[in-house]
Symmetry: D2
Subunit: 312 residues, 4 copies
């Protein structure tokens, strides 16, 4: 590494510099602001090349190297970039957010200051129905009339909670106690600083269709409007490999292999041996792993060898 330059400028990303400090709106009253950042795609490459030393021919282009690192989960070079965001979001969203333990955090304190006088409100058209088969998700919307009623009740409850809070404060109750019955929809703010690797991990989980709706909106914005500008090559690789990639288990591989080698019949035998096809009262017994395999076969344009599971 004797050929390291002895003078350096700080890496700068012009498209991101244009965003610094600008609140990008989310939900009815939330935002994400970029406060500062360190590094860029070039810093990922720079760190990866530490491993190669001076004697190494730089055969890889930057894009190829970044894609290689992402594909093979060589994650440390992505930790060499860091970003600091200023967030405004409802507390029930923050409750999930903060579970990611690898970030640095300073949250607005309702012990030192009065709580933010804003709660996230739901439009009458935005009440979502509980999904049937998927206990963590939602599906479809409530009708307009019921939605109207729920939004009305929500406003009343939030107003009532705010009134109770103000009354306590007015009587001199300690802020740390006065806040205790604020609704989870109350907005909070935080500075949140994280490295690029851990941010991508956060995005992979929180942009996912199984994530809570509100945190998905934040995650999607951070990914598409911030990371995509900050580190475009890294973002492209992330989208190709993590967001739009899929994984095959040993069982998946064996069934697909059998299908390609021996046709449907052979695949069915293998699937049975693997315990994926067990006969229940009506057709195949429910099997979550088989259901996921079927979705993957679909994605790969392969016919499901056992037909539609009868009666499922």
């Amino acid at each position: 590494m004797s050929d390291q330059p002895s003078e350096l400028d700080r890496p700068q990303v012009d498209t991101l510099d244009g965003l610094l400090g600008k609140p990008l709106r989310v939900l009815d009253d939330g935002f994400v602001r970029v406060v500062d950042y360190m590094g860029s795609d070039a810093a990922v490459v720079q760190a990866a090349r530490v491993s190669y030393g001076t004697g190494t021919k730089r055969v890889h282009e930057d894009r190829g190297l970044i894609r290689y690192l992402m594909r093979h989960r060589h994650t440390t070079p992505f930790e060499m970039c860091e970003i600091k965001l200023h967030l405004r979001l409802p507390m029930d969203c923050w409750r999930q957010w903060i579970r990611h333990r690898t970030a640095n955090v300073n949250e607005y304190s309702t012990r030192y200051s009065l709580a933010i006088d804003a709660a996230q409100q739901t439009d009458r058209g935005e009440w979502r129905l509980q999904a049937e088969g998927n206990r963590q998700g939602s599906a479809g919307k409530l009708g307009a009339e019921q939605g109207q009623q729920l939004s009305q009740r929500e406003r009343e409850l939030q107003a009532r909670a705010q009134q109770v809070y103000r009354e306590r404060i007015g009587l001199g109750v300690a802020r740390e106690q006065a806040r205790k019955d604020l609704p989870l929809s109350t907005y909070t703010e935080a500075y949140w600083k994280i490295d690029l690797h851990n941010l991508l991990h956060f995005l992979a989980l929180r942009m996912d269709s199984h994530a809570q709706q509100k945190i998905r909106e934040y995650a999607t914005l951070i990914g598409q409007q911030i990371v995509a500008k900050w580190c475009p090559l890294t973002w492209e690789a992330f989208v190709d490999y993590r967001v739009n990639g899929t994984s095959l288990t040993r069982l998946d591989v064996e069934v697909i292999r059998a299908l390609n080698q021996g046709g449907s019949e052979r695949a069915v035998v293998i699937a049975q041996e693997l315990g994926l096809l067990q006969t229940g009262k009506r057709g195949w017994k429910r099997n979550r792993e088989r259901a996921e395999l079927e979705a993957k076969l679909n994605q790969l344009a392969l016919a499901i060898p056992w037909g539609e599971p009868p009666g499922d």
Copy 2:
């Protein structure tokens, strides 16, 4: 380390075994239960002695070694013990708790399940007044009449919030959305697993008189009723050095030294040079660092050399 035994029993702490699974009550409806643990004082000693190798005479008794480690912040041996707790606590308390990033956590999910139908309630005699000089604390209680009124309003608000939640669930709203206006006082539960070093760090911060009242109750119980039984020597050292110890800054040391060497006059000169004594409109200018030094002088039974700051 050639003299390591080739058979081992798992360390066991009888006094803690008696507690396993028993809910220790906190607040009106919270608890802490010990689910499992790894190690004991003996495991701290065992790990510390890895550093000494076979040739070392075991001159230190276990207690002396543990105290030495604690005093000199040799923290890694304390990481060799681990405890798993089952907690039930209000969400506004959990919001602080979860900021400690070094633990393993599984929280009750209000996306998968209905929210716990219990919120922490405040007795009429338990409403605390905001402290004056200390924006984060509380001091004294509200009168009984006002307390009565606040507790009444609290119950109404919590009931109202629960009603709104049930209405949403009844109409089929997705659980992840229905929960959005639950009050922060709603109880949640979690499994929380942490090593002894990080637990002590948590306790040092959360048993402190500056900590939020409710989290202090949990922390104090965990310390006094669990850690004290689990690792009594470690607990004793922790109490002697962290809980009941104090720290002196360079400025503190210089002033105390001057006081002991040259008396009050010399101490005042030094304090002035250090910028601790500046004349304001009325007496000494407020100075937080001086105020803290004065408290320490008091604690050490040393007279404050500049007298009570005039007019402060």
Copy 3:
């Protein structure tokens, strides 16, 4: 969770208890000993079910639940198990090991004690050749004669280094300085404590065929002889999904899909559009991503649509 038992026994795994303290040999003079553990497959399930609450029917069998968690990377329940190992390994192996930052560590100190008088030695038949295409790996062995010579030189060098070390110690040189020229092959020892999730991550990386040979031997032993006994259901899922699973990128999916829908011709068009097939001087231009896709096609028993890349 009101139906939690109010008494608990510590989870115990008999097959693992039989191993406690027994050194499992690795390399010529290394070992792994299980010192203690917390939890088992049952603890993973227990933690996962916190999320489901009392109202939930326990439809999943334990095995199914563990497999589901592993497949969908719900990692926190696996963090509820913890294991403590006593390791003896060469320092150049430890240098890689310690890069995993999520463990608790106490290493033998050569500042407090004399360095361990043992270095890892290489048998004449064990000298591996540098792999051609793969700069980090090895392939094949050196001939017996050269191996003999290298092993001889190794012994001499190690003896010489030990002699220099002893001379320094004899003259009273500080241990922290005397050790400075010990060879990386010198053995060290450590207590290493880690949760099951992070252990599996370690194993996924270090059992891999791209990992350094020596650390692979340790990782393989820990996986197959320890984790497989400690948490057999978790281990089975890990092997099915991580060790023997594979991942498909968006590009892989698109090519395979085209192949199944439109045959080879269509797949070639898509691969070209995706930049995977560019004509070079002799046949297709080298492309690492295409090479990896070809390996996956092979694994799935699909023919490579562009034939063997001409002249590559």
Copy 4:
């Protein structure tokens, strides 16, 4: 926080910018280079003020706020600054360095590249004697003649090791195996990125007089030549409170208090009650905690009430 500016410039520290990329020399062939940084003293203040919200009067000056945060171990605002260094250091020094788990790291790989052809050499005047009472330290120097001899042997051993390494490489041995007997004094390089809070923790431990000599030289340089320029207010507070501060245990406080209230006699009684003064065969029994208290009494210019321990 509604008054947040909607445009921001990246914080910049001119005195540090002048250092970017310049290797600051350590030992005979090591260096530290600042590659990039995020934030400054102002970023610490900015993050701390998130907790205060819009309604708060900014009564604290920046310096006062930073000092308050440091004194009371409000550590999160310091995590909002980040620095990235390029290090060149001997492997035995790196072995200690890497134990700090909170940094991001990319190390030069001797699997991908040939090992760096440089080992740290010890001048004949630099051989240090093992300290007597303190098993981890060193004290005084070896005489010139013996030093001469040791330096000569060192050079021979390092040359021999390099020769063996080259021979293996020449015969085609895999790099990951060829390196196995390199001396610990061999230089390595790394990119190392860490936040300011964790960096200060590293410095507190590694600038300490008990730290290994070589890592102290790196730590001292990083503190005095880099952090002092980057965040001068933070550095000043760190030096006043951590480096030059001291801590008193409960026992220390009780003895000093007794001394100030009741004179030597009373202090001796208290010290006996606390178990600090036990009569041994010759004078007081050795007691490490008492010895540390005596050092603190000295520092505070207080006479040791029990006189010099007789016969110790």
